[in-house]
């Protein structure tokens, strides 16, 4: 993967550009959601699309998430490629029945005759000081639902590349956008989206010999920071960015874990019943005899997401990650 440095852009800008380019390339791509038109979305991710493509292509809907996703299903049935914006993680819950009972199953129900190429964009996660219902990490719900792809970028280039791919996919994709990375900047070349690995591939963001941190989305930069800090303690950590929770890239993940023999899964979602359990379990199933210690998890506590002034205690941070690394039974090694 070569990323040609062109000019710095934020993740939000890369996402906008991805939709813009997809809409320009394919007239069947339609964006819809609350405030996505005139306002350009509460995070401005759809900024300019209504102006460039008209309100029929980028539509402010009435305020009803099940209605948005439900009508998107109908649009997809008629050959369109709807890109739906849910305003915040917790406000996707009203659309849950449409997502589970129809979006994820229509292809299977109709033996492939009625695929639903819908992208559901969900800004997710905490760390932005949002009040209640604005910081949920709801990926466990989506992962437990066969028929959905679940994707989440951690870099500006991936934001563009994965979103283009999600929109082009003939399957429904839940596209989780880490809110607190919206304003992260990076140089990135929109002319070379092909430089981005496809959906379904994890990427090693940092190689290391001692232990592997497995993470995604908003926790990727935190893990990279933790890996830097770990140097000081004498640990050389590898960092894997999953990018795609479904399909899951066992190959890349297991190769990374086998190299180091130790692993910690890191995410913001609550630990119990969260993605980490699945990830740790499948690593253990596949790499048991390579493991020097159990795969540990650093996750949000098993509590409702905290109010803004307390969220820093909940979010997996560098210290908590390093503490987990320290618990990887190093003594037993020698």
């Amino acid at each position: 993967m070569t990323t040609v440095a062109v000019k710095p852009a934020t993740m939000a800008q890369a996402l906008t550009r991805a939709m813009r380019d997809a809409m320009a390339a394919d007239p069947t791509v339609h964006v819809l959601g609350e405030d996505v038109g005139t306002l350009g979305g509460v995070f401005r991710v759809t900024d300019g699309l209504a102006k460039e493509f008209g309100e029929d292509r980028c539509t402010d809907t009435p305020l009803a998430e099940a209605g948005i996703l439900g009508t998107a299903v109908g649009m997809a049935m008629y050959g369109l490629r709807p890109v739906v914006e849910m305003q915040f993680d917790a406000f996707a819950y009203p659309a849950f029945e449409q997502l589970i009972s129809h979006v994820s199953r229509m292809r299977n129900r109709t033996r492939g005759r009625m695929p639903l190429p819908i992208t559901v964009r969900v800004p997710y996660g905490g760390g932005i000081g949002g009040v209640e219902h604005h910081s949920d990490s709801s990926e466990a719900y989506y992962m437990a639902t066969p028929g959905l792809h679940v994707v989440t970028p951690a870099t500006v280039a991936d934001a563009y590349g994965l979103l283009r791919e999600a929109i082009a996919s003939d399957d429904p994709v839940v596209f989780l956008e880490p809110k607190r990375l919206y304003w992260s900047k990076d140089t990135w070349d929109p002319e070379h989206p092909a430089d981005v690995e496809p959906i379904g591939r994890a990427v090693v963001r940092r190689t290391g010999r001692d232990a592997t941190l497995i993470t995604y989305g908003p926790s990727v930069p935190v893990c990279l920071e933790a890996a830097e800090a770990a140097q000081a303690e004498g640990w050389d950590l590898e960092v894997v960015d999953l990018r795609s929770l479904v399909p899951f890239d066992d190959e890349t993940v297991c190769a990374a874990v086998r190299r180091t023999g130790r692993a910690v899964v890191v995410h913001e979602a609550t630990g119990f019943g969260g993605p980490g359990g699945e990830i740790a379990a499948r690593i253990t199933e596949r790499c048991f005899h390579h493991l020097e210690a159990p795969v540990l998890r650093v996750a949000g506590f098993d509590i409702p997401y905290p109010p803004p002034m307390l969220e820093r205690h909940h979010l997996p941070g560098v210290d908590r990650i390093l503490d987990a690394v320290a618990r990887l039974q190093w003594e037993a090694e020698g």
Binding site: T61, T71, V73, M75, M77, R109, T110, D170
Partner: protein, 384 residues
């Protein structure tokens, strides 16, 4: 200048002119369900249409009794009969053009069949060999929807998409009286009205949601009255009067096709059978009510009109019956064949391209089935 003087300089004005977004009066339904058969309006009805409706009603009733019989023989997992509601089912199918779309609920297999879908493929869901049997695109019929009212936003989205593409396609979506209580009903109707989507909502008010009577479902004057709250016309029609249902739906379809937006139609009818073969209706309603509705049977109503007007004679009745019997015989025969089952198909359509995970699981199941086969062969070999 004193505080009061300062304030005096400000003269509050009336609010920016308020006006209703649309005139509510024409949106309100008539005071009584609209009827054609046995009224003066029947004189204006097209005889050919009435005859076509009649033939389909007779087929439809026979289809219902045949499907119910198939549940007793274990050939269907379950069947929700539309006996007594055939006028709605048939009119919904016949009112549409080929390019239009139908969005049925689980009870509306008859409408699907009347639209031309193979009855065996229509019954796939209820037989249980797959979740849906027909190609939705071939006849422009969405899969039968089980989660109540969830198909309504689909119809709106499809109709909206068609309009955006410049196609004069109309979507007709069917739902029950119980389904009107779901949030999806509300959201669908609102989207449709705001987008002026070419969609017709047909509520079959058959008096019950399983055991729950309408009085526990709503306090509205009628379900058609809900239309005004969305800014669309509401129409109330006698759901057992095939000519009336066809006319009201026809008006709504034409209105939608012409760009006039959606209509909500409430057809007042009655579910003669239990909710499904698995239900025991005696637990929640008496015979008298059922009998009163049997006396307002959709087939007999139309039959009387046709015979009175000399449009139907004995051979005509017999021909319709004969045609229905043939359909039933064919259905019976084909449903008595074991469906072809391929367990491997479980993995084929979860995603466009299968995943490594599913390939593993597929291999596991294949190995299990081969082992099973071997065991069976060995047993048979042993037995021989």
């Amino acid at each position: 200048m004193t505080v009061m003087e300062q304030r005096g300089a400000y003269r509050p004005s009336p609010p920016p002119a308020w006006q209703p977004r649309t005139d509510p009066a024409p949106l309100l339904p008539d005071a009584e369900p609209y009827r054609v058969l046995g009224t003066e309006a029947a004189g204006k009805a097209d005889p050919d249409l009435l005859r076509r409706l009649y033939a389909q009603l007779v087929r439809g009733r026979r289809y219902n009794t045949q499907a119910t019989a198939l549940t007793k023989q274990g050939r269907l997992a379950v069947y929700p009969s539309s006996t007594g509601q055939e006028a709605c089912e048939v009119a919904a199918a016949l009112v549409l053009e080929e390019r239009d779309w139908l969005f049925p609920s689980y009870r509306d297999t008859l409408a699907v069949v009347a639209r031309g879908v193979d009855p065996v493929e229509t019954l796939t869901l209820l037989r249980g060999d797959w979740h849906n049997g027909y190609d939705p695109h071939a006849h422009r019929v969405a899969p039968l929807s089980t989660p109540l009212a969830t198909q309504l936003p689909h119809a709106v989205g499809l109709a909206h998409a068609a309009r955006l593409k410049g196609d004069d396609v109309v979507a007709l979506a069917m739902v029950g009286d119980g389904g009107t209580s779901e949030g999806d009903f509300h959201e669908a109707l609102n989207f449709a009205a705001v987008w002026q989507a070419p969609v017709v909502f047909l509520v079959q008010n058959n008096g019950f949601a399983i055991s729950v009577p309408l009085a526990k479902q709503t306090a509205a004057p009628s379900l058609a009255h809900k239309a005004v709250g969305y800014g669309m016309p509401g129409r109330l029609v006698d759901g057992n009067d095939a000519a009336a249902v066809h006319e009201v739906l026809g008006d709504a379809v034409r209105h939608a096709r012409a760009g006039g937006g959606p209509t909500l139609v409430e057809a007042v009818t009655y579910r003669i059978e239990a909710h499904t073969n698995a239900d025991d209706a005696t637990r929640y309603r008496g015979d008298a009510e059922v009998e009163a509705w049997r006396a307002h049977d959709p087939i007999r109503l139309l039959e009387q009109e046709l015979t009175t007007r000399g449009l139907l004679d004995e051979p005509g009745v017999e021909a319709a019956r004969q045609d229905a019997e043939e359909m039933a015989a064919d259905l019976r025969e084909r449903m008595n064949q074991e469906p072809e089952l391929d367990p491997m198909a479980l993995f084929d359509h979860v995603y466009a391209e299968t995943t490594a995970q599913l390939r593993e699981q597929r291999a596991l199941l294949r190995a299990e089935l081969e082992a099973e086969q071997e065991r069976n062969d060995a047993q048979e070999g042993g037995a021989r």
